[in-house]
């Protein structure tokens, strides 16, 4: 009993150390949201993913790249091959050199990575008042609070509290570290006309694009969780059997 208690205390302390490690210096509490992809059996809602792509494509993509995701990956979230070809072809990308030794523009193909809105980081800064709009491919894994933080950020634009001044060209955001964010409020009521006729409230768009970016950051998540259940069930049975074997082998040993 005592031993178990000590062991439990050690595990708890270790968990505390690990969690302070990842949440240190966290000033603002990020509200917990419910997502369909939470939990042991969670999956991405295909409708939310496709709407989220639409929000990314119509709104975020004006400034933010998604350079680790390829157009072909969109088939994994339910777009047909023809739809993906169409989505890719709407963007121009640089290819080459051709036989004449020159670089040329051509419509993107499904095998291309998402075309970035700016040719390089300096161009991105120059077009955005000196602020760099970060790549969104890994945003959900690269921020404390993950997808909850993303949703909080996009819906967290408020009037600054009395006494707080926000520098020219910046906005006040309740959840951004330091609160002064260079990104203007990205979502506005009805800013996107959803293909599936869902009402495009700010909250709805934020949830959809957060789901889409959660998928973009962890496209393997569904496969990972599916495999995890099988592996852990197998291990549970195997370990139980090993325990029985251990008991049997040790039956005659007093210890």
């Amino acid at each position: 009993m005592m031993r178990n208690a000590i062991l439990a205390a050690c595990v708890a302390a270790l968990t505390a150390v690990a969690s302070t490690a990842s949440f240190a210096a966290e000033a603002v509490k990020i509200p917990n949201q419910e997502w369909t992809f939470d939990g042991l059996f969670g999956t991405f809602d295909r409708g939310a993913l496709q709407r989220g792509f639409q929000v990314y494509n119509n709104v975020c993509a004006a400034c933010h790249s998604l350079r680790l995701v390829a157009y072909r990956n969109l088939q994994e979230i339910g777009f047909s091959e023809d739809q993906v070809k169409e989505i890719a072809a709407a963007k121009e990308t640089t290819d080459g050199p051709n036989d004449a030794g020159e670089m040329f523009q051509r419509p993107a193909r499904p095998s291309d990575k998402f075309v970035s809105p700016f040719p390089n980081d300096n161009a991105a800064r120059a077009a955005n008042n000196g602020a760099f709009p970060p790549d969104l491919s890994l945003m959900v894994k690269a921020r404390k609070g993950g997808v909850d933080y993303l949703h909080a950020l996009m819906t967290g634009y408020k009037e600054p509290p009395p006494g707080v001044t926000v520098p020219e060209g910046m906005s006040y955001n309740a959840y951004f570290p330091g609160h002064a964010i260079a990104m203007p409020p990205p979502l506005s009521e009805g800013g996107v006309e959803y293909a599936d006729k869902t009402k495009a409230t700010v909250d709805q768009m934020s949830r959809d694009v957060s789901t889409f970016l959660a998928w973009a950051a962890e496209p393997e998540m569904e496969a990972r969780k599916r495999l995890g259940v099988k592996v852990l069930l197998f291990l549970l049975i195997l370990t139980g059997m090993l325990y029985a074997v251990k008991r049997k082998v040790w039956k005659d040993v007093k210890h």
Partner: protein, 434 residues
């Protein structure tokens, strides 16, 4: 240790020329192991298994990884996204590092509790400390490879520590970097060394096992085996017990791999390294946090420094020496601890101080995870002082002043007489009454 008669003629033929089967028979079937080992003795073999998992997954990762500053981050993401089961292999490797340290830390604290470092196992212990140092170097090098923000800035902070060495510090850092900052040459050599060191580790582990098999495992009671009634053959008893323990370990380890693969990681490492942008809060991986806290405890107003060391060296150098010293002190532990009794079960005072040391290490880890400001500064300094006081003052004094409880006469006797129950209660109960 006469060679067994093998029935199979092929085995007999081989064994006559190359006695691998005799060797295995001797080291597994004959190798006598104390009958009273608890589950705390599972962690040595577990560490060996994790090392194999790390090497296996690491070799596959190296097939897809590109050690170049321009491609490293993307090549890791390619593994995560496009390589078949690449995400599984990488998460196994990433979480395997944390699992390795958890297992090894438990293994070390088991050794501290049961006095596993005492005669005749001093060299076994020292080789173990060499393993720990090699592991830490390997883990540090490996963490740089994904070339995220923490990779880059962690590497910058840690390699810069060497600049504290007087006169030759700066040239050493330049030499380590292969340039004037952490850059492509650094990444290349770190990759090369990260691939090399695990195999060095395998070699040192083999020496560790040779030293182990000379006198066999210690045991929870801490007295020597005194005859066949005290021991049982390693196989099948401990092979099956280790296999069960391995099953439990994999349940926990794989739970993290499949359901919380980034639990032990820093979100910042999913941002590609940017030499122009310092993260607001640079922290090492969790297993280095206690050592990081010791490093940062040495400020100009830390009394241990300002009273004793400030005339000799800078606070930075003192911190670096203390950080390495916190592990080097373990090399001397067999001689710092003069108590003839191994197991803390029979050392009423040492047992209390053992738990205090464990708590102290958690406090150091907690301080290491937080910014060096406010209360964290003095808490870290108190915890650092206590850490060294434990090994350099408390343990030597306990060896002189502590009155241990009487030891049982043999491992087997109380068990076989008392029957039933665990050795622990059977062996210790009469003593506690006395």
């Amino acid at each position: 240790m006469s060679a067994p008669e093998f029935k199979n003629p092929v085995i007999r033929w081989i064994d006559y020329r190359l006695p691998v089967f005799s060797f295995m028979h001797h080291e597994l079937n004959e190798y006598p192991t104390p009958r009273n080992l608890s589950y705390w003795w599972n962690f040595g073999s577990l560490a060996g298994i994790v090392l194999v998992v790390m090497i296996a997954t690491g070799i596959v990762l190296a097939m897809h990884y590109t050690p170049h500053t321009a491609f490293a981050f993307e090549s890791v993401e390619r593994i995560m996204r496009d390589v078949n089961y690449g995400w599984l292999i990488r998460y196994l490797h990433m979480n395997g590092a944390s699992a390795f340290f958890i297992v090894v830390f438990i293994h070390i604290f088991r050794g501290l509790y049961y006095g596993s470092y005492k005669s005749p196992r001093e060299l076994l212990w020292i080789i173990g400390v060499v393993i720990l140092l090699t592991m830490m170097a390997t883990a540090f090098l490996g963490y740089v490879l994904p070339w995220g923000q923490m990779s880059f800035w962690g590497a910058t902070v840690i390699t810069n520590l060497f600049s504290a060495i007087p006169l030759i510090g700066e040239p050493i850092v330049t030499w380590l970097w292969g340039g004037f900052s952490v850059d492509n040459p650094t990444l290349n050599r770190f990759f090369s060394l990260h691939y090399l060191l695990p195999f060095v580790l395998v070699g040192v582990v083999i020496v560790h096992l040779m030293a182990l098999h000379q006198h066999g495992s210690g045991n929870p009671v801490g007295i020597d085996t005194k005859g066949p009634q005290d021991s049982i053959p390693f196989h099948p008893y401990y092979t099956v017990k280790d296999m069960f323990g391995t099953g439990v370990f994999f349940l926990v380890y794989l739970w993290f791999v499949f359901y919380a693969p980034n639990f032990f990681g820093e979100p910042d490492n999913y941002i590609e390294a940017n030499p122009l942008q310092t993260p607001p809060h640079i922290v090492p991986e969790w297993y280095f946090l206690p050592f990081y806290a010791i490093l940062r405890a040495f400020t100009d107003d830390y009394p241990v420094y300002s009273w004793f060391l400030s005339w000799l060296m800078s606070a930075k150098l003192a911190g670096v020496i203390a950080m390495f010293g916190s592990i080097l002190v373990l090399f001397f532990l067999p001689w710092l601890d003069r108590s003839p009794v191994r197991s803390a079960r029979f050392r009423p005072l040492y047992r209390q101080f053992f738990w205090l040391l464990l708590i102290d290490c958690f406090v150091l880890g907690w301080v290491g995870a937080n910014p060096a400001e406010g209360h964290f500064i003095w808490i870290g300094q108190v915890a650092t002082t206590y850490y060294f006081a434990h090994f350099l003052v408390i343990v030597p004094l306990l060896g002189i002043f502590e009155k241990p409880r009487p030891l049982p006469t043999s491992i087997g006797e109380p068990v076989l007489k008392g029957g039933g129950g665990s050795t622990a209660s059977a062996a210790a109960r009469p003593m506690e009454k006395a």
